[in-house]
């Protein structure tokens, strides 16, 4: 194949998990057949699952990294002269969790992992490394930074979990990456690790595409769960460290919305390195009319970020005003969100919604299911530029959504929006649309026009084609 080779790193998405980012990856990989796509997915806890997306001929999974699996790095003879880097865990905790962590020092540590993959496990199993790690962690906790409050106390149990997490960061950094012309990172988190190392080794251009903002979602996730202060501290600092390293290294950052771009700039990324490319969708010319069955549909995984609790409360409020209203939610329970899913079930029971709100589980046809909707609702507390809303607009369905991330940019003029968590306002939006079918049809039609004019797949692909080829040509030329 004569086109550029593009290494796409994903995290918990394409091609193993269905969702907005996966749909985006599928569109891009399928839409640019002139490139040779090398997919490097990072997943957690689904080692034996088969891919949910069929890869086109121009794409292949080069290696799958399954976090927390117990696979051991294959043994290789190593030079005795080369000394082990027993400071590795300490360096990782300092540079990733420290408020003033240094990206160059972090990348140097990660580079060592790539150069000595067979020693990573031995280093982490050494008691010297553990002791140095504890000292470094204490330093991080005692760090004085005006923008950070005082760190909570961290117990040894949490420290141990963090140590195991850092081991996996080192493992991911150690995974070899194939020769490529461009690194395309789909999240500023774990997915960036192999790219950071590859970039440092070969100076290959790196493009970071941000859908939901990784660091924002990590903070919101921590806020919405009942974790202890130390758990929050570790989770958020880790996400911040990964994001800072990704932002510092990426040659170009392509957020999917202006709202994301604002965040990246606030994080210190110069606007010259930011190129907003909003998501897009293939639009059908003649969408079906609204069914008139008072059905409200939502699509999204059962996750605290999607704020399903608010969705349930909105449903309860709506059925008080429109008793015939029926809510249907499509979305899987992702690994790690089982407790949240149970809390949703409990709230569903408490609110007495019964058959008026049904959880349907995941769907492989997120567009098709929307045809049954009179209203599409989304209650997320964080979004990039949600594909599910574009899908609703492509089907001419009116939308009620929270005004987060790129949502206002996407649905301007064809929806009701409200601040996240505002149950009454969201509910009144739904009630208005259910009671006024003409208004609902008008908003749906406007949405269809808007998505056709602004978020069509062709122009989206053209933007990416231009950006990717330009970046890849830099690598080829050098």
């Amino acid at each position: 194949m004569s086109g550029p080779r593009i290494l796409m790193t994903t995290e918990g998405t394409y091609p193993y998990v269905v969702g907005g980012v996966s749909t985006w990856c599928k569109q891009l990989v399928g839409g640019l057949p002139e490139a040779s796509w090398q997919i490097l997915p990072i997943t957690a806890g689904c080692r034996l699952n088969a891919p949910l997306f069929t890869l086109p001929p121009q794409a292949e999974v080069v290696k799958r990294i399954d976090l927390w699996s117990d696979e051991v790095t294959p043994w290789r003879p190593s030079s005795r002269a080369a000394r082990d880097r027993t400071s590795l865990p300490a360096e990782l905790v300092r540079e990733l969790l420290g408020w003033q962590g240094r990206t160059d020092a972090l990348v140097d540590a990660l580079l060592w992992c790539r150069r000595r993959p067979e020693r990573v496990r031995a280093v982490f199993r050494g008691s010297t490394s553990w002791k140095a790690f504890l000292v470094a962690l204490r330093d991080v906790l005692d760090e004085q930074a005006s923008e950070a409050g005082l760190a909570p106390d961290v117990d040894l149990h949490r420290a141990s979990q963090l140590y195991q997490t850092l081991y996996w960061i080192a493992r991911v950094a150690a995974v070899p990456t194939p020769p490529t012309d461009l690194l395309l990172v789909t999240a500023a988190g774990w997915a960036a690790l192999p790219a950071l190392v590859h970039h440092a080794l070969h100076a290959t251009p790196m493009l970071l595409v941000e859908h939901g903002l990784y660091v924002r979602e990590a903070y919101l996730g921590a806020v919405r769960t009942d974790d202890s202060p130390s758990a929050r501290f570790v989770a958020t600092r880790l996400a911040r460290g990964l994001t800072r390293a990704s932002y510092a290294t990426a040659d170009v950052i392509a957020p999917v919305s202006e709202a994301n771009a604002d965040w990246e700039q606030a994080f210190g990324v110069p606007s010259s390195r930011i190129c907003v490319i909003r998501n897009a969708i293939r639009v059908m010319p003649d969408p079906a009319p609204l069914p008139g069955t008072a059905t409200v549909i939502s699509v999204g995984r059962l996750d605290a970020l999607k704020d399903i609790h608010t969705l349930l409360e909105v449903a309860a409020e709506v059925v008080r005003h429109v008793p015939e209203a029926r809510f249907v939610h499509y979305g899987p329970v992702p690994p790690g969100q089982e407790a949240y899913a149970r809390s949703c079930d409990a709230l569903h029971a408490t609110l007495g919604l019964g058959e008026r709100f049904r959880f349907m589980g995941g769907t492989t046809d997120p567009v098709g299911v929307l045809r049954d909707a009179d209203v599409v609702i989304m209650t997320s507390i964080s979004e990039g530029f949600p594909m599910s809303l574009l899908e609703a607009m492509s089907q001419a369905r009116p939308i009620v959504a929270t005004a987060v991330g790129g949502v206002p940019e996407a649905v301007r003029g064809c929806s009701f929006t409200a601040p996240p968590g505002h149950v009454f306002e969201l509910a009144m939006g739904v009630v208005s649309l259910l009671r006024q079918p003409a208004l609902a049809a008008t908003l749906g039609r406007r949405g269809h026009e808007r998505v056709t004019e602004r978020f069509g797949e062709e122009s989206w692909l053209a933007q990416y084609r231009s950006l990717l080829l330009e970046l890849a040509s830099v690598a080829v030329a050098s």
Binding site: E147, A148, G149, H157, R158, P229, S230
Partner: protein, 433 residues
Amino acid sequence: MGGEQARALVEARLGRPAQDVLEAAIVLEAWGGLRAPSTFALGAAVIEVTPRQPPPERATDAAVLVEHPPSQGHGLGLVCSLLAIALWTIPLSTAFGASIMEQARQVALPMTIGMQGLVLRRSFSGPGGLGRLRRDLLGATLLLVGAVGVVALLTPHGRVLAGTLVFVWVAALVWVERGWGAAYAAALAAGVGALWIGVPPVASLVLTASLVGAGLVAALVSVPATSRPPTSWQRAGPAGLVGAGVGFLLLRAAGPHWDGAAWLGVLALFPAFTGSMWAGRHQARLWRVVPEALVTRSVRRPEGAGLARLAIAVFLGGLARAVLATGVLSLLILGLATMVGAATPGLAPLLLALGGIGVVGFVVWLLEGLGRSVWAVAVVAAACVASELALRYGLTSQLGAAFVVPGIAVLMATYPLAHLLGGIGFSLTRSSI
């Protein structure tokens, strides 16, 4: 919006002060209707006016540090099944002949304990054991068929018997894990009953294997497959080797010239097995009490001797249980044998020897469980060599097994065990790495 107002909004939403400027900015954006970069500036103002005091840490649930503490099955069912296995072999020995039974046992015992070690580590080392085994059904089936085939090949004069022994003994693990230990014992009793009413020995074996196989299938289909994949072969392999080594040591301990009744030779295994299992169950507490203790200790204070004392206490408790159970049950068997007139001069040394190997098993399984597989394999290998050398240099197999083999094993295991128990917090952390 000013800093104080923003702080009030953030604290109202969070129910506590913001952790840092980012958290404040994110809350102001998500629930305050503001957008970056103004949220960042306001977030900084929030932190500026927030009193600087560390958040109070509340105790968290001591989620397991290591997700796969060794599973030890269900106590009573386990004892039932062990006793049933020991007693089942008595009529088989009569039906097939002591010599054929002995040949079959020589090959089947190490293979069985090896296979059990492998399955324990691969599927049962953690929650949802049967579900993991179900997910791994093809691999496990091929492994079991392979083991049965190898044993049958290695036993020219008792192929069916040896193969069935392996199948039935390994399957016990699944029945017990399902909580059906007593039913398993009943299935073996049915096989014995068939022999008593005159069913030919091979047909009785087929009947027993069919019953056990049906239970095996029922146990597996009655649980859903979990999403959690089984432990990799690379990690489970050493557990299999350790098991096979312990099986070999048990055979060597019994020696080539058992002078008593065959049923007594088989029953003599019961105390050591039971003691070892009880000790192992106790030892699994390490994976619960140590994380509970770790939750109460700050990284700002060193690990201290308290944790090590706790770990050593659990270890000694396990050892005491192994010795106590083996001793008491051995005395019971001695008494029983004397009562029925089956006691021979070799019985007491045999029980002592098997008890010694039980201690070796306890030590090596602990090493393996704490992630020191290489040490565990090395210790069991050295014990096997010591057992051979003891025989070659004129010691009886029982004396060797009772004193030399445990001595070597304990000597070799002392350093790594002291190291592991002395830094138990890190030992548990490392065992998942």
